[in-house]
Subunit: 209 residues, 2 copies
Amino acid sequence: MIRMLIADDHTIMREGLKQLFSLVADVQVVAEAESGTQLIELLRQVEIDLLLLDMNMPGISGEILIARLHAQYPSLPILVLSMHNEIHIAQRALRAGALGYLTKDRDPETLLAAMRRVVSGQRYLDPGLAEQIALQSSGLKQQTYVESLSDREFQILRLLAHGLSVNQIAEQLVISNKTVSTHKTRLMEKMGFGSTADIVRFAMTLGIS
Amino acid sequence: MIRMLIADDHTIMREGLKQLFSLVADVQVVAEAESGTQLIELLRQVEIDLLLLDMNMPGISGEILIARLHAQYPSLPILVLSMHNEIHIAQRALRAGALGYLTKDRDPETLLAAMRRVVSGQRYLDPGLAEQIALQSSGLKQQTYVESLSDREFQILRLLAHGLSVNQIAEQLVISNKTVSTHKTRLMEKMGFGSTADIVRFAMTLGIS
DNA sequence: CGTTCGTGTAGGGATTTTCCTAGCCGGTTT
DNA sequence: AAACCGGCTAGGAAAATCCCTACACGAACG
């Protein structure tokens, strides 16, 4: 029997999932959370075998939430169920401590399979994303690689995504605006961005911003 | 018997909904679409009483999709099921021709109730949003009012959200960059935006961009 | 040990965008 | 008719940003 907790801010999504799992004999939904803080609260009270987690939760969410949960319950398998099928997000989720990552556009059978894998302690990665990562690491694709950003560049990416201007960032970091501009140019080149709007969109899907 | 079509790009969401509706005797899901174009295609083939539509579909989506469907099938009740509980989005969806608007964080009973209302030809608006709109129209809240934008301003908002620069927009619209800048300033003031990043974020939640 | 590379830092000049101001036009009010 | 207002249009001056170039410094490399 797999005792699981569903964390998703959309009631209808949660109910739908519960209905799906009601068809499966050895899966039992023992709790639900609709915010990051509530999730943290619940985990103190119930004992579970699997956490099914949405990436976009109100309050604490995304990477930060995963990292925090993983630090506190290292042996709890976390399967991330996300809307975004972008490599960076998946990679960051996994690096933060999730054991599996699956997009919501997969079918229920795949979800079940992923759940069983994760519960048994094995990693699971969405097939489509796995392929993308494979292609990427084999060098056939070059692009949008957050890892290639230096710390300073990533820091400035975040500040830009929050809507700060080059000058505001310069002031905050106590460096020249020319320097900020240089970092911005370089990070945009590395990420393959064509406009500041791309930065904001990217950051949004990442959960920053 | 309500014959309905579910349009949502996430398989798991669709399956979950189908499971929910399987508990309801007089509701039957007769078709599913996972993209705007597929939806348009399907509507030519099947006869339905209700369209349950997600705002964020790949391909054609959001307002534009609703407007198009409504023009083609004026008597088809469209219930929009959206992740966003922002007034503007709801208002635009309704104005484009949707008969109902509900956020995904509601419970299944509410969804059912909304469906029945819409099928019977009555409008349905998410209670939380209805209240917001009431407060807003009573003048207690002023802010972020898309309606107050002129056509030109909204057009430029969209282009900005797509990542075009002020100069590019000026060139495309064959007007002075100063003019574009003026529109930008005014639309940002009207919407209460503090940076271009806000524009992009807003447009993303709206389904544009 | 010299070279190269990545990173953080800017300057100078060019370009873009803002800020403030204002004209024009069509519709409404007085 | 005169006055007014909202929406679209810019100009000139000023600020912000970009582009190209450069340099220092530490790490990796031959």
